[in-house]
Amino acid sequence: MAKRRVMFTFPPDLIKEPIIYNLGHKFKVVTNIRRADVSESKGWVVLELEGEDKEIDKGVAWVAGKGVRVDPIVGDIMEG
């Protein structure tokens, strides 16, 4: 089992969708929220995903495909 820490950033049109709930239902991934800030216009959630590596990959790709930005929680690793 692998663990991956990620940050989801939601655009306004996806705020009302239960994306994290569906991620846990459609894929064998356990979601564990640690920090979040969600308003009417925008929102971000920092969470840990636990599951098989491939399953996390599929789940993250599905979330990104819905229009949610997925980032490493350490921020951008690439620097100037």
Partner: protein, 409 residues
Amino acid sequence: MSYARALQCRKCGREYPLEPLSLCDFCFSPLEVVYDYKAISEGSIKEKISNGPPSMWRYRDLLPVDGDVVDLGSGFTPLVKANNLGRELGLDELYIKNDCLNPTYSFKDRVVAVAITKAREFGFSTVACASTGNLAASVAAHAAKAGLAAYVFIPYDIEQGKMIGIAIYNPTLVAVQGSYDDVNRLCGRLVGKYNWGFININLRPYYAEGSKTLAYEIAEQLGWRAPDCVVAPAASGLLFTRIWKGLEELSMLRLIGPVNTHMYVAQAAGSSPIVNAFEAGALHVHPVKPNTIAKSIAIGNPADGYYALKAARSSGGAACAVSDDEVIEGMKLLAQTEGIFTETAGGVVIGVLKKLAASGSIKKGNLTIAVITAAGLKTQEAVADVVRPFVIQPTVESFEEVLGERARA
């Protein structure tokens, strides 16, 4: 022995041992090094600094290093009074902190020197980083000096000139065929799989501390005082927040008086998540997709963005962005008034300084520091249009025909 006491979560305050860790296990917030300031203040710190080497290591009591350091001679760069530029902008007390003059020509040498020293202390035999230029060159150079293996990840399409500036130190240079975000994701995965000292991931709390030396130097070079205003570029926001931390530490140790410095974030409009949040009055920084010529500070999801925003606000400063055209103008203005050739990030700083002076945010008599973080040789292509030579034949007649009037004027 160092005075570093522990790693502490910047959000919830939980403490961790001084190990290669960067995130709090509970809230996933960043960790930072905390020190035994009481013990530091009991030693004769000012005297130790004055008698120290003319490099960043004169401040080693305020850095988290224990034994021998990896030293390329970084830091203690010139603080130059910029009278010509000041006249141009209407500022009487303007200084340039010229960090172009570091061993690999950027301020990254300060942070990497500490990170590589710690990597060696922790027993890593390999270090790694992902970078489009400055960080990569500095990591490769310091790894060469320390005798460590280095993996350097770069986007496959960066300029040939930059690749040479990295490859000369002979790291394992990995060109990733993918977007900026793809490289981020890949490196995020690799850090969990390999036992590497990843410079800005598991070594980040130590790496960050190196930036403070820039603030220490500014204060010492001003005769132990804090400036009124600092204009510094923000990419991940790390340098910006550590300049602030450095000044506060000096004040706490009574090396300078109370800090009333206004901190100004400078970003390029094509990658300005911190400025966006400042202007919107938001508490958090939302990621953006970078699109600017100032590539060395084009970070869409800044790790220390929240804290940089906080420092700008709580210091009574601001955050301001300039267009790519203003960046180029800034580079030319600095070169043509002060003889300092900066890369695009420095152009951002000068462009923002110009705006802040024009709007009256920074006043004529304010003792102001513009932080120039890297040399122009790194981004020569941005100002290639300055090359317009007068072409003549090798005769006096030809010279006078083309330039006679100008030469006699």
